[in-house]
Amino acid sequence: MRIGVYVCHCGGNISEVVNIDEVLNSLKNEHDVAFVKDHEHLCSKEGQEIIFNDIQEYKLDKITIAACSPQFQGPTFKTLMERAGLSPYLMEMANIREQSAWVHYDDHKKATDKAKELTKMAIAKVRYNEPLSKYSIDIGKRTLIIGAGIAGIQAALDLADSGIKVYLVEKDPSIGGHMAQLSRTFPTEDCSACILSPKMADVPENPNIELLTYGEIKDVSGYLGNFHITVNRKPTYVDAEKCTACGDCADVCPVELLNEYDGNLATRKAIYLPTKIAVPHSYVLDTEHCLGLNPLACGKCQEVCKADAINYDLYEEEIEFDVDTIIVATGFELFDAKEKPEYGFGKFKNVIDGMQMERIIVSSAEGNPLKDIGKKIAYIQCIGSRDKQIGRPYCSRICCMYAIKQANLLKKGMPDRDIYIFYIDIRAFGKGFEEYYNTAQENGVKFIRGKVAELMENPDTGKIIVKAEDTLNRQMIETEFDTVVLSVGIGPSKTTENISNMLKLARSSDGFLQEAHPKFKPVDTLVPGIFLAGTIQGPKDIPDTVSQASGSAARAIRLMNQGEYFFDPLLAFVDEEKCDGCGLCVDHCPYNAISMAGKTAEVNTAFCSGCGSCISYCPKDALDLHLYTNKQLLEQIKEAVINKGDEPRVLVFADDMTAYRLADNVGNAKGIYSPYSRIIKVPSSCRVTPKLLLQAFHYGADSVLILGTETKSSPYPHCQEEIERSVKIVHNILKENEISDKRLFNTTIVTVMIKKFSGIINTYTDLAKTLGPIPLEKREKLLKDLGKKIFGGSHE
């Protein structure tokens, strides 16, 4: 066997901490290694060409690359392998950037030692890699879009125009989202509703779009190319086809409520038209407030409807369909300024938020202002943005510009209005934004640098007293205003938590959904076939939202146009020579992927999900999992724990979906943890068998951690139960051998728990130090009569 080993400097990211020469020297005498080389950037064209040429010239069988996380550049090198005529699965990566250089930069020697060992572990694994091929599934041309704000609408139209069948699900009775509420858009001052309504009208007209308004995603199952969707659709009790939107029904409706669409500054009836530009253009009956869907209770609306469009005998519908890809466009929620009580929002009648001002501007233009705002107006920026106190440390990106826009519009409407904007920093970064900011200054809007500390109400006049420091002049301001506008920021929409759990999408620390890569995959998620559009990924303005929506549509089309998608062959397989046909595995596969074929078990690859939980049930070691075989894992374990000297060793089995990515996130965040830990990647925590755990202790591990995904967000919901069973078996065996069972710990984790990850690793390193190494004679005994210990002798 000829293995080529390459160590990457990553442009200093690795080489500034890890001594590359030392790593190279330590690997030279490894058997099967043809040579070791280093390079400044292995992922560059030049770096790739070196590997490519070496494979040809030196007839290399296998490659090991010590560089960044395989999550990051793995696909690049797999493609390179294919180009060089080798199976992409004959390459292993040692993650010496995220797991060494970026987390042990405080100790260059330890980081170098760990880098050596991680590379040796990868070499130990690659020796047993097999030349497998990818397998593929068919993908059709159907997309679900969740949310029909401007992002969802744009993505739907782009997809539909490209011949893709689109299911557009919107929770509200009308599409359009927040943009339908706005007065004008910055910096061009286009009328928001006027530019949005033609797009909204195009949606139901498009034969490729199936619009499901007033719908809620109830369940999503399956995977790319085969997502199964269940939508609950609430009835509006008004037939949109028949409704002429004449408004007779609302005139007679006795129930009057505050209208959220108008920022609660106006009222609506229990039967109402969601917005003037609503699509579908139909009245909707709000059952929560309606006196009763029954002529006995009220029934006035049904009586007066000339079009006979109102029907009380409708029920919630459950609609099921299949799609190939999903775009999440569930948008944002405005910050509720009541969370900052010092500004008196909801208490002082002359303190309003930015959205209420939008509605006031619209209604004033229509000649029927919702509120008298007076002449002297103050804007307070960064309410619910850039504020750690309320867990919103980020900039909302739109508030500076909407405040400037509103100030410009208000000045235009009445030039002698006196408008002040209290800001921390004006962020006018977009195209034409700085110029628009300058327009406001030329219009006489006054900008004062300082965040307003608190507001008080003059009880006699209702005017609002603003208290702030002019931080440029270092003087205090305490002045009365007729109206104070809070420029509230934005956060992820309330449905985000539910959606992210259902689709198994990660969320970043600010609560927005996490993209697959911040630079190169800004609209992809880590789940194949699911994309993000608009503010659900982070705050953005309308042009950015629309660009991102078109981007996500293009990414979805790119996948669907290929017609098929390639997967790693992460599949269980049976060694027919070892299998004695006991059938224990058949009963324990939750996917029904194992059946008996004559005297041996057989894996149905169409159903196998690659979790590996069946392996723990095989008393004959006849079941195994491609890409993570028993032999491969054992070799990695041995490399990690044998010859560790006096050092403690914490072995971490990290599942691919969460724990391994979390370790990468810890690296990205430059979080330090104990250098005595060694991470072994597994597809799921239940891939780890009792035998592997005992082998780990047998060969010298001082403590073993199994980190997996929470059941509710795991692609393998049965996994935690399975691993807990295995851990229990091993705990008992450890206790029988008078070894502390604290040395083995299993838990679930989420990808954002950066501090917790470091904490766990450090805790178990300290524990390993306190307990000291397990005496050799105890370790020797661990593997004796293993079958009996694990399977209780019933099988022998």
Partner: protein
Amino acid sequence: MSKMIDLSKEADEFLKKIEELSGEKITSCIQCGICSGSCPMINEMDLTPAQIMLMTLLGQKEELLKSKSIWICASCYTCTVRCPRELDLSKVAEALRQVKLRLSIDRIDINKMDKADLEELPPIALVSAFRKFTG
């Protein structure tokens, strides 16, 4: 002529010292001024709390230690609960007071006192004055 700020090594060392004593990352202040606007004692102060943060960042030791503000701060924590970067300004004020006190400056020099006064003043009044006017 406008005043010059010297961004010297000493200035940086002063910042580091205050950061160490207070445990607060003064360089993460965004100068929004919400501390000053919230301060109930602001009318008595010669430097505003936000100004103290900026001047500490710039290492303007002399002006800071001369300032009345650091002694006027009542540690009421209104600024602390409102600071968007979660900085504790009361701790910064305390750190500045510490630096000032550790200088151990005697404002009353016994050698320069009038002999007649010394004879007339009770010793306990002198001791109390030495204590009070240190730093």
